[in-house]
Amino acid sequence: MLICTWLLLVCSVGETAADLYVKGASVPPEPSRTPSRSSPEEYGNPGSAVARSAEAPAPTAEDGASPRHGGGYRIVQWEWSYVQTPYIIALWLLVASVAKILFHFSQRFTTLVPESCVLILLGLVLGGIVLFASKKQLYQLDPGLFFLFLLPTIVGDAGYFMPARLFFDNLGAILMYAVVGTLWNAFCTGFCLYGVKLAGVIDDRVEAGLMDFLLFGALISAVDPVAVIAVFEEVHVNEMLFIIVFGESLLNDAVTVVLYKVYISFVEVGPGNVHTADYFKGVVSFLVVSLGGTLVGLVFAMILAFVTRFTKRVRIMEPLLVFLLVYLAYLTAELFSLSAILSMTFCGLGCNKYVEANISQKSRTTVKYTMKTLASIAETIIFIFLGISAVDKSKWAWDTGLIVCTLIFIFVFRAIGVAGQTWILNKFRLVPLDKIDQVVMSYGGLRGAVAFALVVLLDGGQVKAKDYFVAATIVVVFFTVMFQGLTIKPLVTWLKVPRSTNRKPTVNEEIHERAFDHILAAVEDIAGLNGYHHWRDKWEHFDRNYLSKMLMRKSVYGKSELWEACQKINIRDAISVIDQGGNVLTSARLSLPSMVSRASFPEVTNVTNYLRENGSGVCLDLQAIDTNPGAKVEEETETHRVLAGNLYKPRRRYQAHYSRHFMTVRDQERQEREVFQRNMRSRLESFKSTQYKRHKKDRSQKKRKGSDAKEQDANDKPRRNVSWHDKDPVVVPLESEEEMGEHSEKEEDVGIVFVARKTSETPKERPSSVSAALEVCQSPSVAPPSPTCGEKNLPWKGGVGVLPPCVSVEATKIIPVDLQQAWNQSISSLESLSSPPVPQEPQHPRVSALSRLGGPLRPAAAGQGGSGTGPTPLTSRQFQFPGGKEEEESALSLHLQEVQPLMSSMRPPSSTTQIPGKRRNPRMYLRSLVTTPPSAREPKSRGPTQL
C-alpha cells in the first residue's frame, strides 16, 4: 500500500508538486528518486519548488527547465511536460499491477475477498489521498477513456475467448435474460422510482420526472460485464450458470444503449412532445442497434479471418491484426452508434475458429497473453478508478430515499424477473435451472462501471437530478460489487451450488464422460431429434463447405490430417534443430552439468533461446510459456494433456472452459473423417469376413485392435446387404496412409532413427540400432555409461512434455569428454539425493506411463539410453505393478514385444495399409529410457501405488 501511495504521488507530481514535497517527508525514497533528475539546487530547496508549483500547477516542467535558475547549458533537464501524459499512464498501470501483485501475496485473503472489492477500496484510499493532497479530484473514471479503451479490452477478451459452444447452447436463455430481463428491470425500476417519488419518499430536491427516472432505470438495470467477470471468475460457479449471467451482461448492452439513447432524446424534447411513432422508432432502433452491431462484428470477423489467411510470410503481424480488427469492430459500431459491445463480442466469437486455425502457434500464444494481460489491467484500473471517482464529493449529492429505493428495487425486480423468465425457460430446457441457480443469478446481477460511465455522461443541464443519480449509481455499484461480491462466495457455498471444480476430472471420468457424450449424440440421431442439433449440423455443413473454405488457409482446411500431424512435425523439427544445435552448443561451451539441478532451469531456457536466436525458425516452445518449470509437476498432467488433445470431441457437451486467466489449447475438428474411416473400415471388414466365410483370424494379442470386436459380432450374423457405398471410404484411408508415409519419409530426411526403447524379456534383443541412435546426436561415445539410472531421477524429468528439458537432455550428450567426469559426479550425487524416500519416483508405474506419453519429446534420451543400457538390457519388468499381477504383466510384455526396433526406411509406408490390426503409427519410438528403471534399482523404490 505504501508503494502505491508514493507511486500515486509520483504520478500526481505534475499537478501537485507542492504536495509531493509535503508527503515526501513521510516517504523517504520518494523525493530522492524523482527530483534526482532535476537540478540539485531545486532538490536542495524544496520550499521554493513548493511555492513555484503552487502558483503554476500544470506546467511544472518550467520549474526545472526555467531560465530562472541561471542561464547556460544544463546537463540535466526536467522535461516533465514532454513525458507527462504517457508517464502518468504508465505509472497508473504500474500502480494497478503492483496492487494486484500485493493483493495476491496472501492466498487466504484472496480466497475470501474478491479482487474487485480490494481494488475499489484501494481506489477509495488513493482518491482520498489525492483529494487530501490537492484539494480537488484530479482523476476520475472518464467515460471517454472507459468506453474507448478500457471496456474494449475487456469485451474483446471476453468475446474472443468465449466458449462458443457453451454460449450457443445457452443462447436462448441468454437472449431472454438480456433482452426481456433488462427491459423488465429498466421499466419496473423507473416506474417504481417515479411512484415512490410521487409518494414523497424521495426528497423534493431531486428534480426528476418520469422520463428521468426511466432513464435512470435504464442505465442502472443492466448487469455489468466487467463486474460479472471479476466476481464470478473467483466464485467458480458451474459453467452454465456463469455463461448465462455473463452472456446476459454482454448482450444486454444493446438494450441499454437503445433505452439510454431513446430516453435521452425524450428528455431533450420533453415528455410532452413524444409521439406514439417515437415508441415505434425506439423498437426499430433496438433492432437496428442490436442486429447492426452484430452484423458489423461478423463482417469484421470475416475480414479478420480472411486477412489472416495470407499472413504466412509475415507471421509477426498476426497478433496485431487480431487486435486491430477486433478493436476496429468496436470502433466502427461506435461510429454508427450501434451496440459496440455486441459488435466486438460477435467479432471475437466469429473469428476465433478461423483465426486460431490460420495463425501460428506463437501468434496464438501472443494473442492470448496480450489479451488477457490487457483485460486484466483494464479491469484493475476500472475498479481503482471507480473507487477514486467516488471520493469526489462535488460530483454527487446524497438522497437517502432515492438510494435505498433504488437498491431495493433493483434487487427485488431482478429476483422477480429471473424467477419469471426461468419459469418460462424451464419448459424448454433439458437442464432446468433450479431454485438455487435462480438465487445465484438474481444475486449475481452486479452493476458496474458501465452504469457509472453512463450516468457520468448525462447532461446535467437536462437531467436536473444528475448528481443524485450519480450518487445512487455509485452506491449501487459499490453495494453490488462489494457487498454482493463479498457475500456471493459464502452464499454459493451455503447453497451448495454446483461449482466448477478445480479438481481435475480423473482419467476415468474424462474417458467415460466423453463416451457418454458420444452415446447421447448417437441416440439423438437415432431418435431423429432434430432441434437445436439439427440446425447446428446444418450450420456446420455450411461452414465446412463454404466458410471454412474461404476463410481458412488451404493447408489448414484441405488437410485435416495435417492438423493431427502438426504436433508430431513440430516435435520432429525441434529434434532436428537440437540435432544441429548440439554442435553449436558444444562450441558455445555452456556449463551443462549444472543443469542437473533443478535450480538451473534458467540455463536450460537459455539454451533454448540460444537455439531460437540462431534462426532455426521452429517452434520450440510449444507450451513453454504456459509451463512453470519450477512448479511441482503432477503426474496426471500429461495423461490429461494427451487425452484432452486427442480424444474425439463429441457433438455436444464438450468440455468448455472460460477463464480470463487461464488458457486452453483448442483442437480442430479432424475427427469426423478419422472416425468415418474407421467405422467404414470395420464395417467393410465385417462385411468381407462374412462374405468369404472367413473364420476367426489369428487372434494373437498383438493384433487386437478396436475393429476385431465388431468382426466378431459380424462373424456370427450374416449381412443382407451393405447399404453404405463401401468403395469411397476405403479409398480415403489409403490416401491418409500415404500421407503418413510421406511423414515417415520426412523423418528419414531428417535423419531421425526409430529406436526401440524397450526390449523384450529376452536379453538378446537389445536395440540393434544403438549406433544409429547415436548418430542422431553426431557425437558418439560421449554418453557416459551409467547416466540412465541417474537421469531417471533427475527432478526435471517430471516435466514431461516440456521442451526445455528435452533440450537439456540432448545437450548432455554433447558434453566434451573432459566434462564427462564432472557430469558423472553430479549424476551420482544426484542419485544419492533422490533415491529411496521420494514417493513419486519414475519407477512408479504410473509415472513411467506418463513418460511414455511424453514419448517423442525426448529423443535424445532414447539414444543415450540405447548406448547406456547396452551391457544390461532392460526387461519389461519395470511395468510390473505393485502387487505383481501376472496377467497384466504378460499382457504388457506382449504389448511391448510389438515395439521393436524399426527404422523408417525399413518400413514401406504402404505395407501398413491393408491390415488394420497391424496398422502402426510410423512415429518415433525415440523415448526416454531414462525413465525406465534398471531392474537392479527396482525393488528398492517400488512403493505401493498411490491412488
Partner: protein, 195 residues
Amino acid sequence: MGSRASSLLREEDIEEIKKETGFSHSQITRLYSRFHSLDKGENGALSREDFQRIPELAINPLGDRIINAFFPEGEDQVNFRGFMRTLAHFRPVEDNEKNKDPNSGEPLNSRNNKLLFAFRLYDLDRDDKISRDELLQVLRMMVGVNISDEQLGSIADRTIQEADTNGDMSISFSEFIKVLEKVDVEQKMSIRFLH
C-alpha cells in the same frame, strides 16, 4: 413382444410402452414415426443396416457400439418395443419420478441403468468386467490416430488402476459406479425428447 409384424401402433401397445418406459403418449407416437422411417424393410423391426443408414452415426466414434446396444443378445432385429426400451435409458429423470413408488422396480432411466448402458458398451464379452483390452478398444475408437498404442496403453493402465479396487486388473460394474459417483450421470446421460 407382440407387435413384431404390425406396422400400425395400437393403443394397447402404447399403454404398455408408456408403463414400461415412462414416455408420454405423444413422445411414443413421435418416436414411432421415426422408427417407421428408419425401417426400410418395412417389417416392423430394425436391422443393423437400418441403423447404419443414419449418416451421423457413421461419424460417431462409438456409433457401431451404440447400434449394437439396441439389439438384444443374439438377435439382429429390434422391434419398436425394444427400440423404446433402449431409448428410455436416456429420458431425463424428472422430479416427480424420484419419489414415486419404489416398489415398481427401478425405472429404465435410473442412474444405475444409465450407467449400466454405458458399461455394456465397454463390456463386450458380457462378463461384467471391463478388461484392459476392452477398454483399449473403446479408447482406440474415441481417440485420434496420432496417439500411439503405447500411449493409449498407458492411459488404459491408468484408468484401470484408478478404478480398480479389488485388484483384479479390470473394472467391475460396482467399481464403474464408484469411480463415476461424482459425475452427474442423471444429467449427462439424458437428452430432451420432444413432447
